[in-house]
C-alpha cells in the first residue's frame, strides 16, 4: 500500500522462505518504480522471526537504503524480540519503532533530514 511518499507493508502470514524472498524482491521493485522515500514494515502479526526472516528484514533495509529510501520495522512482539536477541540476531542497520505511529514519525524525520542518520543505522 502506498501512502504519500511511503510504502506500507503489513506481513500477515507466517511466510515460508521463498515467499519471504519474493516479498523482498517485490518491495525493492516497488521502491524503484514509485520512488518511495520510506518503507514501513509492520510485523506485529508475526509470531516468529527466525534468522531467515531476520535476514530478509535486514536485507530489505539495506537494499532500500541503496535506493534512497529508509525502512522502519514496527510492531515486533516482545516475545519475538527476546528470542531474536538470544538467537544472536541483533538486526544491525534495521530501524525499529514500537508501533505504526512512531514508525511514521521516524520516517518523516528521516526524509526531512536525509543527511543526519540516527545511530544504529550503520550499514551491516
Amino acid at each position: 500500500m502506498k501512502l504519500g511518499e511511503f510504502l506500507l507493508v503489513s506481513i500477515q502470514v507466517d511466510m515460508h522462505d521463498k515467499l519471504a524472498l519474493a516479498l523482498q524482491q517485490d518491495l525493492t521493485d516497488r521502491i524503484a518504480a514509485t520512488g518511495a522515500r520510506g518503507v514501513l514494515m509492520d510485523i506485529s502479526a508475526l509470531e516468529v522471526v527466525d534468522s531467515f526472516i531476520g535476514r530478509m528484514l535486514a536485507n530489505t533495509a539495506a537494499m532500500s537504503r541503496v535506493l534512497d529510501a529508509t525502512t522502519v520495522v514496527v510492531g515486533m512482539r516482545p516475545a519475538v524480540a527476546i528470542t531474536l536477541v538470544e538467537l544472536g540476531l541483533s538486526l544491525n542497520g534495521v530501524r525499529t519503532a514500537l508501533d505504526v505511529e512512531r514508525g511514521m514519525q521516524l520516517l518523516r524525520a528521516a526524509v526531512r533530514q536525509p543527511w543526519e542518520e540516527p545511530d544504529g543505522d550503520t550499514p551491516v
Binding site: D14, M15, V48, S51, A79, E86, G88, L89
Partner: protein, 134 residues
C-alpha cells in the same frame, strides 16, 4: 519419563518448515508453555528444520511431549541422511556456515533450548536433539 504424545513430520520443502513451526507451536500450547518459551522453541525448531532441509537434503522431525516427575517438556529430534558434518565444533560456532545462511542455526538453537545434543557422521547424516522444559 513419560511420553504424552509423539508425532513425526517430514521436512522436504520450505513449506514444511512452516508446518513444523505450527506443529511445535501447537505442542507448546498443549503443554501450557509461556508465550516466550513457545516463541523460543518454535524459533529453534525453525532453525533446525531449515538445517535439515538445506544441509541434510531433507529429513524428519519427531516432536515428543514429555512428562518427567511432574515437569512438562518438549523434545524435538531432527534426523537427516545427508552429507553429515565433518567438524561439529566449527559448525556450532556463530557465523560459521557452509551455505547461504547466517550461521546462527545450531548455536542459536542451542541457546534457545535447555538441552542440546548433536551426532553426525560424514556420509551418514545428522541427528540433532533439543528439549525445552517448562
Amino acid at each position: 519419563m513419560a511420553t504424552l504424545r509423539s508425532e513425526i513430520a517430514g521436512i522436504v520443502t520450505s513449506e514444511d518448515i512452516v508446518r513444523v513451526r505450527h506443529m511445535v507451536r501447537d505442542a507448546a500450547v498443549r503443554l501450557s508453555f509461556s508465550l516466550v518459551d513457545q516463541t523460543k522453541i518454535v524459533t529453534a525448531a525453525s532453525e533446525l528444520a531449515r538445517n535439515t532441509l538445506e544441509y541434510g537434503g531433507g529429513g524428519t522431525v519427531r516432536i515428543d511431549e514429555l512428562a518427567d516427575h511432574g515437569r512438562l517438556g518438549l523434545q524435538l529430534i531432527f534426523e537427516d541422511r545427508g552429507p553429515g558434518i565433518a567438524d561439529l565444533n566449527q559448525a556450532m560456532q556463530d557465523g560459521f556456515t557452509s551455505g547461504s545462511g547466517l550461521g546462527l542455526g545450531l548455536g542459536g538453537a542451542k541457546r534457545l533450548c535447555n538441552e542440546f545434543e548433536i551426532q553426525s557422521k560424514p556420509g551418514e547424516g545428522t541427528r540433532v536433539r533439543v528439549a525445552r522444559w517448562k
